[in-house]
Assembly symmetry: C2
Homo-oligomer: 319 residues x 2
């Protein structure tokens, strides 16, 4: 089954890893958020892309869920000594990746091609596709003004109440040809359990992306990143609340209304199924919390099974 996964860096990376173990790598494309990209030390840093890259390459630091396991921090010490801001903590191997990507970009490669080059070098078979090659940057409106996303997320440790979000550059951005091709070929499109506002949101905000997802003809399944009213990781729950959304799986489902035909909620949220069903989507209740590699594979398998079943049922119903 040809799968396209829309993903940010945390839950999305875990589910991507699950699919990578279940699907033929050639059948898996991960469409990645690039709106939390930033420039550090003159180098493009693409946190969501890199987290998925390191996770699929088996290099990720398992405790942190990002960065390279066992990385050293010699360069960061020198960068600090030389006057660079170092609150965004880049390890030496991670720095090397940024140096390599910047080198490829300077040689004229698109971000898509640079990421593909790096993914291949790291033995990642799945296609890792930046949602766009155009610059899009999430700006976070707080009571102290507008912040660069990483200034909010890493430097300020998400303490600011989020009053608004803006995806700078998104109006001029376009999905890449590779993303559009993957969506056209897809049999299953999954919106991963990433932050719906700042990981999935900027992907879907790219003009033409929503339409391409809907037009794909694939089964479209959303997975809630909110379980029992809380984000598994990160500030999605507080952010939903401060921006006036319902802080629940149903709140996420509302954001994907009209986009997915099936919405997956965790067993902990089973009682929300009827009210989500009323939004015009089918609801599936599955174990969605991925604590182990086995959990990731099980969720990916269940999603594939769900798509196959829905598909069969769809055909039976003459859809």
């Amino acid at each position: 089954m040809k799968v396209v996964l829309l993903a940010g860096g945390t839950g999305g990376a875990k589910l991507a890893h699950g699919f990578a173990g279940v699907c033929d790598p050639a059948d898996l494309a991960v469409v990645l958020n690039v709106a939390d990209d930033t420039e550090r030390h003159g180098l493009l840093v693409s946190p969501d892309v890199d987290t998925v890259l390191y996770t699929l390459a088996g290099l990720v630091d398992p405790a942190q869920g990002w960065g390279v396991a066992g990385d050293t921090f010699t360069a960061l010490g020198m960068l600090e000594r030389l006057g660079e801001e170092t609150w965004f903590r880049i390890g030496d191997a991670d720095l090397a990746l940024h140096v390599r990507r910047q080198h490829l970009l300077r040689q004229g490669l698109s971000l898509t091609d640079a990421v593909a080059d790096i993914a291949t070098a790291l033995g990642v078979g799945a296609r890792l596709l930046p949602a766009t090659d155009d610059p899009v940057r999430t700006r976070v409106l707080t009571d102290d003004g507008e912040l660069d996303f990483q200034a909010y997320f890493v430097r300020n440790r998400q303490v600011d109440e989020v009053r608004g979000l803006r995806f700078d550059g998104v109006e001029a951005a376009r999905p890449t040809r590779a993303v559009l091709q993957a969506l056209r070929a897809a049999e299953l499109v999954v919106i991963g359990p990433s932050n719906p506002l700042v990981s999935i949101g900027p992907i879907l905000a790219i003009p033409g992306m929503r339409e391409a997802v809907v037009a794909s003809g694939a089964r479209r399944i959303g997975v809630s990143g909110i379980v029992a009213g809380q984000a598994i990781r990160g500030p999605a729950d507080r952010m939903l609340g401060s921006l006036g959304h319902e802080v629940s799986a149903r709140g996420v489902a509302l954001l994907y209304s009209g986009l997915v035909d099936t919405f997956v909620i965790d067993q902990a949220d089973a009682e929300l199924a009827p009210s989500i069903g009323e939004l015009g989507m089918e609801v599936a209740v599955l174990p969605t919390v991925m604590r182990s590699d086995a959990d990731r594979a099980a969720l990916a398998e269940a999603l594939v099974a769900l798509a196959e079943a829905t598909d069969t049922r769809g055909r039976m119903l003459g859809r």
Copy 2:
């Protein structure tokens, strides 16, 4: 005494270190060869500048004479894995310096200003002045064609017979304003015991540089990097030979003829003094081989004393 030292990366760095211990840092300017600069991983690498920088900052790896003591090589391993050529072995702290410098250059700083920023951050008081801010690159003509200097020096480990040297871009290059000011203010100009052909040569080949040295009014002392017919380090001896120069301190003196008024040779070469004197320069015999920090300081002190003595004698003779 206001001292300007023309230096490459090896002997020049040691003598710079000697002067830094002897002079008021504000009175020391080191004019640095940039013709063996290269681009690695999309970053400018400036080996002679960096060696002098690390030496004066007390960071240099003492065994190698270049690079940062105790550096790690995590990034290099990742760069290799990602497909970058890694025969030029950059440690993690060293990479950080290149990243920082490139960041400053991209912000619009000149090389001179970027190096000054880094030197200050590392607590180096002496002025480290790239000979030029314009790109000059040494190309080495070998039997296998023309090589980038670092390809000859590092990748090929200087095994190629050097048939010719070309300083690409030198015709359009100019000494920086900072270099010209330092030379005008100098009371002593020393040509360090660096490779006369590829370290000192490209500095002097910059149009206007020789004239500025001669016009400075300072005492001008050259120090032979060839002792007993051999280079202390590096391929200067073989290079002199293959390019048709005399492989001796006198061969070096010939290259500086008309430029220095005094030439310093090592005690091992005392018998060459009369023949060098015939070239129209005074000859001083000193211990020039710098094995220890004390040796470096002693040579610097002896050069200052020589300049003071020569100066007095000069005045006495009505010069």
